[in-house]
C-alpha cells in the first residue's frame, strides 16, 4: 500500500470519523481506524460496532491496499504537520512509513482481517428529507433521550415514516418531544424505527445546510449518505412505548407566557433549589406566574414573579428546573403555551406559533409536591 495525500485532506477526513472510536471498550481493535486505498480514493473507517462511519478523500494512490492504525495516535501525528504532501508506505508486515519534506516517521499497523466489517445495507427502502428539516428535527429531539441503557428503546429517537408526515419522538420517561414535519414526500412505504442518539449526533454534525438527505433502511441498519462520508448505524430493535397514549388529548388550563422571561427566571431561581432535585415550584394565577425554589438544607430561597395569561383557578406545580429549561431552550417562538390539568399530571408546552409545515409538542412530568 502506498499513497500520497495532502495533510489537510487527510486531517479533515480522519477528523470526520474519529469520534466514532469508543472512549472505553473491551475490544482493543476498536481503538483503530481502517485505511483503505482503492482507485483514486483514500477511505478511512471507524466503528464502535453500533455505528460505523466511512469518510473519503481523493488522493494519489501509488499502490492499493489497507492497514489498521491506532486512530487517536494518527490524528495527533497529522495534527502537528504543516500543510504539505505526505506519503504513506505500508510493507507486508504492516509497518507504516510516513514521508514528507520534513522527514520520516514510522509507526506500526495491523492487517485489516481483524477489523469488523462494514455492515451491508442494501435495501430499496430509501427516504429523502431536506437537510435543513432533518438537522432541525435532530437538534430539537435528542436532548430528551434517555442515557440509561436499562430501557434501550428510550436511548434512541423513534422515527415514524407515515403517509403524510414524518415524525421524530424522544423521551426519557420524564419529558418527551414529538416533532412532526409535513415538508416531506412519502417514499412509498411506512415504517417506524429507533435510531441511536449517538448516530444522530454524528449525522447532525456532518449535515450541510442545503440539499436533500438520502437515508437507506434495511432490516437492522440505517445508512445516511452525506457529502464525503457515510454513517451506518444499527437500529434499536426494542418496542417503543405507546407515547401517544400519554399525551392528553384535551386540557382546560392554559398559560401563555413570554419564553425569554420564563427561561431566565427559571434559571435564576433554580440556582437556589436543592442541588439533588433541582425542584422549582410554579404558582399559576390569572395574570402572574410565581416561581419559587428553596433549599431547606442550606437555607437558600428564591422567589420571582412574571406576567402571564392563565385561564383557570390558581395551581401549584413543581418541575425539575433542568428539564424545564431544556425544553424551553428548544422552543423558538417568542411566547409559549403551557397546558396542565393538575399538579400530578403532564404539562404540555407548545410554541404559540408553529413554523410552517411543522408541529412541535413538548411534554414534562412534574415532581410530586410533598404536601
Amino acid at each position: 500500500m502506498n499513497f500520497t495525500v495532502t495533510r489537510n485532506d487527510f486531517y479533515k477526513t480522519l477528523q470526520k470519523v474519529i469520534n466514532v472510536i469508543p472512549t472505553k471498550t473491551t475490544s482493543e481493535i476498536l481503538y483503530n481506524v481502517l485505511l483503505l486505498a482503492e482507485g483514486n480514493q483514500l477511505k478511512i473507517i471507524a466503528t464502535d460496532l453500533e455505528i460505523t462511519q466511512i469518510a473519503w478523500t481523493s488522493c494519489q494512490i501509488n499502490k492499493e491496499g489497507s492497514v489498521i492504525v491506532p486512530g487517536k495516535l494518527l490524528l495527533d501525528i497529522i495534527r502537528e504537520m504543516p500543510e504539505i504532501d505526505l506519503t504513506f508506505e505500508v510493507d507486508s508486515n504492516f509497518k507504516i512509513l510516513i514521508q514528507s519534506s520534513l522527514g520520516e516517521y514510522k509507526i506500526s499497523g495491523q492487517g485489516k482481517t481483524e477489523y469488523p466489517s462494514v455492515p451491508l445495507v442494501e435495501s430499496d427502502d430509501k427516504l429523502s428529507l431536506k437537510n435543513s428539516v432533518l438537522k432541525r428535527m435532530i437538534e430539537k429531539t435528542i436532548f430528551a433521550c434517555s442515557t440509561d441503557n436499562l430501557r434501550p428503546a428510550l436511548t434512541g429517537v423513534y422515527c415514524q415514516i407515515l403517509d403524510e408526515e414524518y415524525r421524530m419522538v424522544a423521551t426519557d420517561g420524564h419529558r418527551l418531544v414529538r416533532m412532526i414535519t409535513t415538508d416531506y414526500s412519502n417514499p412509498g412505504f411506512t415504517t417506524d424505527i429507533i435510531v441511536p442518539t449517538k448516530a444522530l449526533t454524528f449525522v447532525a454534525r456532518n449535515l450541510p445546510e442545503e440539499g436533500v438527505q438520502k437515508i437507506v433502511l434495511s432490516e437492522n441498519h440505517i445508512l445516511f449518505e452525506l457529502p464525503g462520508t457515510k454513517i451506518y448505524s444499527r437500529l434499536i430493535k426494542e418496542p417503543y412505548p405507546d407515547y401517544e397514549r400519554v399525551i392528553p388529548a384535551d386540557y382546560n388550563k392554559e398559560m401563555i407566557i413570554d419564553k425569554t422571561q420564563f427561561v431566565s427566571s427559571v434559571k435564576r431561581v433554580s440556582l437556589f433549589s436543592n442541588p439533588m432535585t433541582y425542584q422549582v415550584r410554579l404558582h399559576l394565577e390569572s395574570t402572574q406566574l410565581s416561581i419559587h425554589a428553596q433549599d431547606i438544607d442550606f437555607g437558600g430561597e428564591a422567589n420571582e414573579s412574571i406576567p402571564c395569561q392563565y385561564n383557570s383557578e390558581a395551581l401549584d406545580i413543581a418541575y425539575n428546573a433542568n428539564y424545564l429549561a431544556d425544553i424551553l431552550r428548544h422552543i423558538d417562538s417568542e411566547k409559549i403555551r403551557l397546558m396542565v390539568e393538575d399538579s400530578d399530571g403532564p404539562g404540555i408546552i407548545f410554541p404559540t406559533e408553529q413554523e410552517e409545515k411543522e408541529d412541535i409538542l413538548m411534554l414534562i412530568m412534574p415532581v410530586r409536591l410533598n404536601n
Binding site: 420524564h174 400519554v246 413543581a318 412530568m365
Partner: protein
C-alpha cells in the same frame, strides 16, 4: 412521605409487675432501689401511674419517693423478666417491619412506610401493634404516628397511657404550635431559660423566629432548633442490625452455562431480594450482581439507579443488564448473586410518563407478597422463574 411510629410501653417495669402480681393492680408500685425505710440511696426506675399521682417519677431518689408515697409497693427490678418481655414485644414490631430502631428496652422507632401496602396506613398499623401487645402480653403501649422520628416521639407521649396520637403531614405546624419548649429535643434547662427570656414559651413562638436570628443566638443548635420548630427531621430509622444491603445467592448443583437458566436464576434471586426488601420496608438505589465462574474467579458489578426501588421487575432488569454486559458467553457459572444497597427514600418524587406499566408491576409484587405471607415462601413465582425449577427437577 415517611410514616414513622414511636412505640413506648406504659410504665413498663411497673406494668409487668402488676400483670404478674394481681395484688399490685390499682396500687402505687415503685420499681427501683430498696427504700430502706427512707434511707435508701438508689433511684426510682419506673413507677406505676398510681404512684405518679403522688408525685413520684422515674430517676427520682428513692428516699424522696418514700417520703411522697410511704404506702407504695416497692419492688426490686427483675431485669431478666423485663428483657424477656421486651424481646417478645419487639417480635411483634418485626411482624410489621424490619426497620425497627430500639431506643431502650421498652421503646422503639418503627419505619412502616413500606409496610402500608400489606398492613394498612400508619394509624391502622399503630392500632394493630397496640392490639397485638395487649393480646399477647397483657400490657399497654402508647404510640405516636408521624412523618418523622422527632414528631412521633412527641406524639407518643401526649396521651399516655394507652395513647395513640397521629400527626399528619399537613398538620405539623398546627401540632407543634402550642407545645411547650421543654418538648424541644436538645433544649436543656439552661437553653429553655434563655428561650423563655426571649419570650419563647411554645414551639410555635420559636417557629416565628427567622433561622438567622436563632443561629446568632444559639450557634449550631440554632439551626437544629429552627428545623425542629418547623417539624423537620430527616434522620432515618436505623434498624438494630444496621442493614446495609440485602442480597441472595444461588450455587448451582452443577456448573451452568445455559444462558436461559442463568437468567431464570437471576429472576428468582431478584424475586427473593425484592420480597425481603418490601418486607423490611426498604428501598435501595444500587443493584449488585455477583458472578462466579467454575474456576472460582468472581466478579461483582453494580449499577446505581436514578431512584430508589423495591420492585422485583426493576431489580431483575438491572441485574440482567449487568449480566449481559459482563458475562463471558459460554463460560460455566458456579454461583450467581443479586443484591441491593444504598437504602433511602425518594422525598420529592419525579413523576414518570409510563407510570401505568410501573404500577401494574408493583401491583404484581404486592399480590405475590400477600400470597407469600399467607401460604409460605414457595407459593408463587413468575412463570419465567418457574421454568428453572421444572428443569432442575427433571435433572434429578
Amino acid at each position: 412521605m415517611r410514616v414513622i411510629l414511636h412505640v413506648d410501653m406504659d410504665a413498663f417495669f411497673a406494668s409487668v409487675e402488676q400483670r404478674d402480681h394481681p395484688e399490685y393492680r390499682g396500687k402505687p408500685v415503685i420499681v427501683g432501689a430498696d427504700p430502706k425505710g427512707g434511707r435508701g440511696r438508689g433511684v426510682v426506675s419506673t413507677c406505676s401511674y398510681e404512684a405518679r399521682t403522688f408525685g413520684v417519677h422515674s430517676a427520682m431518689p428513692i428516699s424522696k419517693a418514700y417520703k411522697l408515697c410511704p404506702q407504695g409497693i416497692y419492688v426490686p427490678p427483675n431485669g431478666r423478666l423485663y428483657s424477656q418481655v421486651s424481646k417478645e414485644i419487639f417480635e411483634i414490631f418485626y411482624e410489621f417491619t424490619d426497620l425497627v430502631e430500639p431506643l431502650s428496652i421498652d421503646e422503639a422507632f418503627l419505619d412502616v412506610t413500606g409496610s402500608q401496602k400489606l398492613f394498612g396506613n400508619g394509624p391502622e398499623i399503630a392500632g394493630k401493634i397496640k392490639k397485638r401487645i395487649l393480646e399477647k402480653e397483657h400490657l399497654t403501649a402508647s404510640v405516636g404516628v408521624a412523618p418523622n422520628k422527632y414528631l412521633a416521639k412527641i406524639a407518643s407521649d401526649l396521651e399516655k397511657p394507652d395513647g395513640l396520637v397521629v400527626v399528619s403531614a399537613d398538620k405539623v405546624e398546627e401540632f407543634l404550635q402550642s407545645l411547650d419548649i421543654s418538648r424541644l429535643w436538645g433544649a436543656g434547662q439552661r437553653t429553655q431559660q434563655t428561650l423563655r427570656k426571649l419570650g419563647i414559651h411554645t414551639i410555635g413562638d420559636l417557629a416565628a423566629y427567622p433561622r438567622d436570628v436563632l443561629k446568632q443566638k444559639f450557634g449550631k443548635m440554632g439551626d437544629h432548633f429552627y428545623r425542629l420548630a418547623h417539624g423537620i427531621d430527616d434522620r432515618a430509622v436505623h434498624s438494630a442490625e444496621g442493614v446495609k444491603s440485602v442480597s441472595n445467592e444461588h450455587t448451582f448443583g452443577s456448573d451452568e452455562a445455559d444462558e436461559s437458566i442463568l437468567l431464570q436464576t437471576l429472576l428468582r434471586l431478584s424475586e427473593k431480594v425484592g420480597y425481603r426488601l418490601r418486607k423490611k420496608g426498604l428501598q435501595g438505589k444500587t443493584v449488585h450482581l455477583k458472578l462466579r465462574y467454575e474456576n472460582f474467579s468472581t466478579i461483582t458489578r453494580n449499577k446505581t439507579l436514578d431512584h430508589y426501588t423495591d420492585s422485583t421487575e426493576m431489580l431483575y432488569s438491572t441485574v440482567r443488564l449487568l449480566f449481559r454486559k459482563n458475562y463471558q458467553k459460554g463460560r460455566k457459572i458456579r454461583l450467581l448473586g443479586v443484591g441491593i444497597s444504598s437504602f433511602g427514600r425518594q422525598e420529592n418524587q419525579q413523576l414518570t410518563l409510563f407510570r401505568a406499566a410501573d404500577e401494574q408491576r408493583s401491583e404484581l409484587d404486592r399480590l405475590q407478597d400477600i400470597l407469600k405471607e399467607r401460604f409460605g415462601k414457595n407459593i408463587t413465582a413468575r412463570a419465567e422463574a418457574l421454568a428453572v425449577n421444572q428443569k432442575n427437577k427433571k435433572k434429578k
